[in-house]
């Protein structure tokens, strides 16, 4: 199997697993328990928090553990909106956010908040002027992802942070696709809230974190005990936090060199695909991108069919578009970039990772060439099909 879907999830690093094991076997105590067996778990949890904070560039107390990137996004967007409700009801986000943010904003609209979905340029970066023009007296929160999960395109977060700071507006960023991929302490982005998840950087599934800048107002979403300073109730995932910390350390230690390696492979892949498959375009290629991601549109065919064609040849890749009842729209990200619906339906995401070698790239290009060719012979669009 050739796995080229690292933006979906990554394998657990064996060193992270090894670090976790004692906390799944002998040291299974509850960190909140009053005896030393509980304290042992508490210390592991807090050491993990400290290790992660060191790489994010923040204080340990500024990190809240939760169960997923989606939960971190929910906590930031809802929690900040509720905390600032007295000051205003307007939220600005972008048309290309992950559904964890988009659907949370849509839910908040039903609760009386007003949401602006800022447009993006054809190259996939948020239109800064449009975003700035929408800031008003009532604006309390801006949420812009650090890099898009489908195209890998990096968003101009530093500029947005300056804008938000100037207007006294809170800023959240979903950094799930950049954490561990860029040699950058995420707190340096200037955001007040930063979501990131362990399983995207070779850590375990089921644990993520939200960075909350010290002193930033936030209302808890999951209520219960006093865990995570009362912001996120529920018995802590101690083993998960230990694996998360180990994975963060490993990812940040190699982010620079691994990023360079993957960028080279990704660029090779794109050059080879463009040469081998006619009627192909790379989406967002002219924008700064995370080094591992490539989003390709193939004319006249459907992306999901490409995914299955690749799967049958042992290659795992994905598509942002989904043909299913209730979700007739192709990728909202590509549509927001102005790509027409039928072309957007033929898009494929390839995301490289630690296991990816040059031979995998050539194999993927060859599999794509044959799959796309075959699907085009079946396709009713393009070619010589009589329309009468």
């Amino acid at each position: 199997m050739i796995y080229l879907d690292h933006n979906a999830t990554t394998p657990l690093d064996s060193r992270a697993l090894e670090a976790m094991l004692p906390y799944l076997t002998e040291r299974w105590g509850n960190p909140s328990s009053p005896y030393r067996f509980g304290s042992q778990a508490r210390i592991a949890l807090e050491q993990s928090r400290k290790r992660i904070a060191g790489h994010i560039g923040c204080a340990p107390a500024e990190l809240v553990f939760c169960a997923s990137g989606t939960e971190a996004d929910n906590l930031a967007v809802r929690g900040a909106a509720y905390a600032r409700r007295a000051q205003g009801n307007h939220i600005i986000t972008t048309a290309i956010e992950h559904h964890a943010v988009l659907n949370t904003c849509k839910a908040l609209e039903k609760e009386g908040f007003r949401v602006t979905y800022a447009p993006v340029t054809p190259e996939g970066t948020v239109d800064l002027a449009a975003l700035a023009a929408n800031i008003g007296e009532q604006t309390i929160l801006i949420s812009v992802m650090h890099a898009n999960n489908e195209t890998g395109v990096l968003q101009p977060l530093e500029e947005i942070a300056a804008l938000a700071k100037h207007h006294g507006i809170l800023l959240h960023t979903d950094a799930v696709q950049t954490a561990g991929k860029l040699p950058l302490p995420l707190a340096a982005t200037g955001a007040d809230f930063i979501s990131f998840s362990a399983h995207k950087l070779y850590g375990p599934k089921g644990i993520a974190a939200l960075y909350v800048r010290r002193g930033t107002p936030l209302v808890s979403i999951i209520t219960g005990g006093a865990q995570e300073r009362g912001i996120r109730a529920g018995t802590e995932n101690v083993a998960g936090s230990v694996g998360f910390a180990e994975a963060v350390a490993l990812a940040y230690d190699s982010a620079e060199s691994e990023g360079q390696r993957l960028r080279l492979l990704r660029d090779q892949f794109e050059q080879q695909v463009l040469a081998a498959v006619p009627g192909t375009r790379i989406n967002g290629a002219r924008s700064p991108r995370v080094p591992n991601t490539s989003n390709i549109t193939f004319e006249s065919i459907d992306g999901e069919s490409v995914v299955l064609g690749l799967d049958l040849q042992g290659i795992c890749a994905s598509t942002g578009s989904a043909c299913s009842t209730g979700d007739p729209e192709p990728s909202h990200v590509l549509l927001a970039m102005g790509i027409n619906p039928r072309a957007a339906q033929g898009s494929l995401r390839i995301s490289l990772g630690r296991s990816t070698q040059a031979a995998d790239i050539s194999a993927a290009v060859e599999a794509l060439r044959s799959t796309v060719h075959k699907l085009r012979t079946i396709s009713s669009i393009g070619g010589t099909g009589s329309a009468r």
């Binding site: 999901e304 049958l312 043909c323 079946i378 099909g385």
Partner: protein, 149 residues
Amino acid sequence: MANANNDIDLDLDFLPGPVLFYNEIVIDHFSNPRNVGELADEETDGFGLVGDPMCGDQMKLWIAVRNNHIARIAFKSFGCPGAIATSSMLTALAEGKSVEDARLITDDDVVTALGGIPENKRHCSLLGVRALQAALEDWERRQQGKEPR
């Protein structure tokens, strides 16, 4: 395309509730679709072009009718694996049938012949049925004032 992911063991029967994955019959019709192609204008007795507004899929279907039976059938489809497999199965079911019997083919017949299809792909099976109906209507129009051949 042979399944190269043989190292992945999927016990699909274990899953309760609705079908979630493409089964082997569906994958076979996706990988080796039957009757792909076009009929030349001079051998075409009916043509249907339909789109699925639900998902942007599109299908073209050609039929040649002899002695009131579908003698030849060909299709081209733009769409997901569900659309391709159901298109293929529809043509396999219709080939050789009398025009009357072909009219009675339903989306359920297509899904049953494929041994089931994921619930969110059921609408795909309408694509082929509607394309066949359109081709048969086209055939009927062309018959008016014309000797059957």
